[in-house]
Subunit: 486 residues, 2 copies
């Protein structure tokens, strides 16, 4: 019934996730967090379409700013599926309708009959047979020109989610337990009283932002309404320019920037005909705030959820999350303490929704801890800054087996490398040599060099940079496996 | 009137200061904190007797465990006074009477007419002319066989301090504004009602633990009372053994351990005749808990006292102290957040007195963060652990100008040194060489080596240790400027 070839997926990953600071940063947003399950949220999102869309037909739709970071993140995973996805860069953020339309235009060029699955990149969803049945049913509906959404069976009168009211059954598209219905209407976040009514009524489902639809249909719907009619033309132009490598960044910025900033819910789903919802009792969460950390570990006898080293003495109902440092609490209640290598947040749990205000305030004073963390993912592995002082910087550099850094040089710093684990293959000034643990190399300023891990174990080196300038931008890349420039 | 030769000082520095965790650690206790003023509390205490006792007559009375740390701390200061003091190690802690008696016995051997000034090492006291007048007056009283204490004019009905009731004036010993009186009685910490009465009465003063007395008189007083009569004999034996270098550690432990654990207040001051108090409106604090941090910076408009980077958003009346990391609070009230390189404490201000419980709980689970911090002071400078991993450890090592480490070797680790600031003089396997910034050296396992700073600037090296064991105790010292062994 479904053809893997014509099924595409767009994973929406443009969000900055300020509400998760300090766990997330502008350049390592919420979708890259690996605290909710074994994989990061975006890796989980990609795997959600396993068996339905081929990896190369999965497209991460993100901002220009996050593109490198997300690619580094997914490329650094050993999983080949995650390495095979592709990326679309929105010239700037214009909410979900233009983002989805852009992906639709790209997919449409490759297959005019393409069906696309749209998924948020930063939610939690338990997959399994029911999820597969939902997708199966949704794809067949989409091929028949339905705009399909998955409706999550609500478990509480949540006021933070939108709801979908379900209408009559669409029996002919049922697949196992996935029993689609006409969507009667989309409802914005309700107040507490209405939310209670929705639950009592039984025909209302959570809108999880998951859609399945023919790309052509999405673009047609946008064309129909005057307020969104410009979107298809602009995204088709973008898709064509991108496909032919002739994208002019300034024009893309200007044209995409002229589009209305509008959600797909408003632009399409709420006012189209032939909209279906597949109600499903799936375990789902939008991971909306740091309070989601309360679910990742068992609370102690006093209701405290703790991850990381330390003690909670006479504290109650608090969340203490530490990535590596020791955190102790004494006599606190309903508090969140979120601790990372370089920054700590302390706030009452009831203020979880306002954490973005902290990120904004820190950004306003130029704190770099809102932009990036001490650890930076690279396509070949990662580095962590251990110390920066006047004229020097110390890093721990880890290279994934089989990968190498770019062939590069630095104009203003020398580097001292000491291998502490694994084996390094070094090229420096056209000389090749191998360094095992406890061996060191010196890379003088200006010399062209490359570091590679041909072994089976991760390579860890300690790098001591010395120079009058040790900023990240002092790098000239002569050759790079990921086409990065300086 | 006073002879500098016959005036000695005993600075009591055996306290562990668990109430200041995580700022203080077992091996860097409260008296070593430098957050209250430009110098550490113990350095301030030593300087309190400047002009009265010669530096070599100032004795730090401490435990065997803290001796090295305190000596490293005071030796690392550029101030020659702090480097000239000497140390007495109590075999074990037996409260203040045995500690003071031990110092008295040592001083008495050198000068039978010695007068000693006893000072806590971990208080704040503003010195100046009034303080000098108090000491002047106290010393003349002591020479006339008075047991003298300084009584701080109380500024509030504090229930955490002991009080001294003043009797008739001793006019002939007045010096400027220092107008001594007979001490009528010593009173333990009062309840709130009595504290109010003391303030209203006007003849009650805070007992700051500062005493001035002839050493012979202290020992005589102890001899008089059956419950303390054994103290003089034991401390005289200890002082003699220490002076002749014949101290048997096991016997010292046994004999000192047999002494009653009793305070000088109880053992001597409260029951002796001829006790004087010099009332003085000195600015003084016992720095009794982390709440003392509230005084080290101006509060913001919402009453928050903040030291270190970060923001406090809609927070009130809180203390946020960070040594180097970024800490943000949102909507907290009356909270303390104390952040250090490797550990963070969060507690309501009203629980400040119970912070020792946290230190005890952490000690019970073997957290090394209660024992020491990432930075360790050495007599030659300091080191900070940046990272420890399997088979390696990275340190930043700073060597004070003019100092050198011991001539040493390691049985199980090699070391890679990169100079990032200053110039190193290295001796390795009998070879001498100089390393300027951006130069490196390799010290293979087993080789005898030494690192020295002959320059005028601090020397900073990054040390990468690699080996199957990288513990601090893998060191053989062949020669050491401070007679340290392995």
């Amino acid at each position: 019934m479904t053809s893997g070839d014509s099924v595409y997926a767009a994973v929406l990953a443009g969000g900055s996730g300020q509400r998760f600071w300090p766990l997330s940063r502008e350049l390592s947003p919420k979708q890259m967090l690996s605290v909710f399950g074994a994989e990061s949220l975006i890796a989980q999102a990609v795997h959600r379409v396993d068996g339905f869309a081929r990896p190369e037909n999965v497209c991460i739709v993100t901002s220009e700013r996050l593109f490198d970071e997300l690619r580094n993140h997914l490329t650094a995973q050993p999983d080949p599926t995650l390495r095979s996805v592709r990326y679309l860069q929105e010239p700037l953020a214009r909410n979900t309708a233009p983002a989805i339309a852009y992906a639709a235009a790209v997919f449409e060029r490759e297959d005019p009959d393409a069906v696309m699955i749209v998924l948020p990149s930063d939610h939690l969803l338990k997959t399994g047979p029911l999820w597969a049945e939902c997708l199966q049913s949704a794809i067949s509906l989409a091929h028949d020109d339905y705009l399909v959404t998955i409706g999550i069976t609500p478990t509480r009168p949540e006021t933070a989610y939108g709801y979908i009211e379900a209408g009559p059954e669409l029996e002919e598209y049922a697949t196992g337990r996935a029993r689609p219905r006409k969507a009667a209407r989309f409802v914005e976040k309700p107040d507490a009283e209405r939310a209670e009514q929705f639950i009592a009524n039984g025909r209302y489902y959570w809108n999880a932002g998951i859609f399945v639809m023919r790309t052509a249909r999405v673009l047609e719907e946008l064309e129909v309404h005057p307020d969104t009619a410009t979107i298809p033309e602009v995204v088709r132009w973008l898709a064509a320019a991108q496909a032919t490598g002739s994208l002019d960044a300034a024009e893309a910025y200007a044209r995409f920037g002229s589009l209305p900033s509008v959600s797909i819910d408003y632009a399409v789903m709420e006012r189209a005909d032939r909209v279906a919802v597949i109600p499903a009792a799936l375990e789902w969460s939008d991971v909306g705030s740091l309070l989601a950390l309360a679910d990742i570990a068992e609370p102690d006898a006093d209701g405290n959820v703790r991850v990381g080293r330390g003690v909670d003495l006479e504290s109650r109902n608090s969340i203490v999350y530490s990535t590596d440092r020791l955190v102790a609490t004494l006599g606190v209640e309903d508090l969140m303490v979120i601790d990372t290598l370089d920054a700590t947040l302390v706030a009452p749990k009831e203020r979880a929704q306002d954490v973005r205000l902290v990120a904004e305030a820190l950004a306003a004073v130029g704190a770099e801890e809102v932009v990036h963390s001490k650890t930076s993912l690279r396509p070949w592995g990662s580095w962590t800054t251990l110390l920066e002082g006047p004229g020097y910087k110390i890093k721990r550099v880890e290279v994934t087996p089989g990968y190498r850094l770019s062939l590069q040089s630095h104009a203003r710093r020398s580097e001292h490398w000491v291998v502490v684990s694994g084996t390094a293959w070094v090229n420096c000034d056209d000389q090749d040599f191998e360094l095992c643990a406890n061996k060191s190399a010196y890379i003088p300023v200006g010399l062209i060099h490359r570091l590679e891990n041909r072994g089976a174990e991760p390579l860890v080196i300690i790098e001591v940079q010395v120079g009058d300038y040790v900023g990240e931008d002092d790098i000239v890349r002569i050759e790079d496996d990921w086409s990065r420039h300086d």
